[in-house]
Symmetry: C2
Subunit: 361 residues, 2 copies
């Protein structure tokens, strides 16, 4: 198998990820062979155009992607490595360590060269082939976590597959992956849920005072519990370590609050370290970067308001880098913030005022 | 003082809040008398049109609003209650209990009838008269926290003032206010900072995998430390209680993770309770409400892209309720989600596809 050589891919498991992968590969002109133990799910995936059901006379696939729940993944990867000695085999489980360890213990070194563990970071709130999207992976990170036995050529083929579906490739070790997703995904989820769970006893009157800060910090608390049960189970040690780090950051402040001493220094330290950590997250950060400035506009909650605003922005010929909308409590109006280069913000504000908009800053 | 009777307001302290209040009152045709111990700050506020400097021959004000830092608030409220026996006196400190307790202990009951403690919930990241905005309070909650001595007529006058500047009035007791802001504002801030501070030791590689969940939960971690030192100091008991509630929500999970038992039930419980708490926050919640549906569009990062999109949305004649933008990692493109009524989402998707946009869901 060499670069440019993926002609056919066998997808084992036609849930959300498998069916989306089939749709993306079909769109890229690649033969997609689908396999699922559930005939209904398989026919839904075929019906959606994700590929054709595997038949006896099929040519051997160049790549097999095992897209089944984590608990079934190792068995099916093992089976597929044996069944297709010429193919590379990938999985898509969201935690890598346990599955990789399991397979290292039972698959021969010669077959492990063809195994490329991976994790496409592009979930949806829905599941099943019905929710599949041809562009689920496009512009999303898809992490490859080769083991010490994975052949370089296998990684290249996996990268070729990622390119076919428009994903952004990142390569780290399985352990690095699991530690990373604990910190950037699993721990924030659990902390957000803990913050939101504390609202159970809060009065309606108090919640009425909630602003965008509480909304942002608890947004992901609406996530599906079932998914997270499996993830935390599989990544328990890294999650434990990540939660301990967050807890340690609150410890000093809580100790000071318990003694009644001045909490000022502990608060300052926590906020300063938090701002430093925040600034390390790649991507655009709204007001954090002095290069950018926000222009805030008050909108009426009516059809066409946003359209008119953005048309006016378009005529001002500035590049809007980000947009945030905030709704005024109990009022049918909203505030919208447009993030632009600092040197374009005055011009944009003037243009929007001239177009009749209520510009606040 | 009766409803409809506010002719002149004296503003003590011309920082961000005082100057914004002056601008808003002037816009509403009310006489605004400004006072500040710092002549430069005062002349800046006057120069911005927030009112005129107080002179000896001034008519007595109907309302005095003390807009100074928390540590100076009680002294100045006391002074103003004595100086203007016909006026109601308000303050704007962000924590109410300590200031109210201080004043209850030193002001006579007859004067306390005219004191209306309050908290306009509309800060900005900037301070000083330079950052003042005439519409800082518009459509924002301004909490009134009358004491047991505050006269009903004084509250009515305060509500009239709030109406003049477009604020949304809410009335709770000082203690209820402090407990509420601890839960909906102070604790989320500290938890967000603790989460972000834990990123200090995270590798760049790991942070490269960060998605919108981490960005949302740590957005407010960029806040100014100085402001929060004062707030937590003043509201230490309620903050302590709020942090303990969040911590208790994580305790069971952390215990299970420490023992190595199955964390599944603890994770499920935490997530389910978190989702329930999240759903109690008033306002629009993106994907949380089945009444609404998101339409996701892939944009190029170029001038006019958003303008074209929203113009197309405008022609589709649907009411966009919310808008979120997410940037793809390492690519000059972005995803934008438009929240609309569930029954309009299909029509919007079709209209945008017809207009040449890359609609993902």
């Amino acid at each position: 198998v060499t670069t440019g050589s993926i002609r056919s891919v066998r997808i084992v498991g036609t849930g959300l990820v498998g069916t989306s992968l089939g749709l993306a590969l079909r769109a890229a002109g690649v033969d997609s062979q689908l396999l699922d133990s559930d005939p209904d799910r398989l026919s839904t995936a075929v019906g959606r155009g994700a590929g054709r059901a595997v038949t006896q006379g099929d040519p051997p696939p160049d790549v097999v992607v095992v897209c089944v729940p984590p608990s079934l993944t190792a068995d099916l990867v093992d089976e597929q490595l044996r069944a297709h000695p010429g193919a590379i085999v990938m999985d898509v489980a969201s935690v890598k360590g346990p599955i990789v360890a399991d397979l290292l213990s039972r698959v021969g070194v010669e077959d492990l060269g063809r195994f490329v563990p991976s994790h496409p970071m592009s979930g949806r709130e829905v599941s099943g082939p019905e929710g599949a999207l041809a562009d689920l992976f496009r512009d999303r990170v898809w992490v490859l976590t080769p083991t010490e036995h994975t052949a370089a050529m296998s990684v290249e083929t996996a990268e070729e597959l990622l390119g076919l579906v428009g994903a952004v490739s990142r390569t780290v070790s399985p352990a690095q992956h699991d530690d990373a997703v604990a910190v950037v995904s699993h721990v924030p989820q659990l902390v957000s849920s803990a913050l939101a769970a504390a609202l159970a006893d809060t009065s309606d009157q108090a919640l009425d005072l909630a602003g965008p800060g509480l909304r942002d910090t608890t947004r992901i608390a609406g996530s599906d519990a079932g998914l997270w049960v499996d993830v935390v189970r599989a990544n328990a040690p890294a999650v434990r370590q990540g939660l301990a780090a967050v807890r340690a950051n609150l410890d000093r402040l809580e100790e000071v609050l318990a003694t009644g001493d001045d909490p000022g220094p502990a608060v300052r330290d926590l906020l300063v370290r938090g701002a430093a950590g925040r600034s390390r997250i790649p991507g655009r950060h709204g007001g954090d970067d002095p290069q950018y400035a926000g222009v805030v506009v008050q909108l009426l909650d009516a059809p066409g308001q946003l359209a008119g605003l953005f048309a006016a922005v378009g005529m001002a010929d500035v590049n809007v880098l980000d947009v945030r909308m905030e709704h005024a409590l109990g009022r049918p109006t909203g505030l919208i913030e447009l993030l632009v280069s600092a040197d374009q913000s005055l011009a944009l504000g003037t243009a929007l005022r001239d177009a009749g908009f209520d510009v606040r800053s």
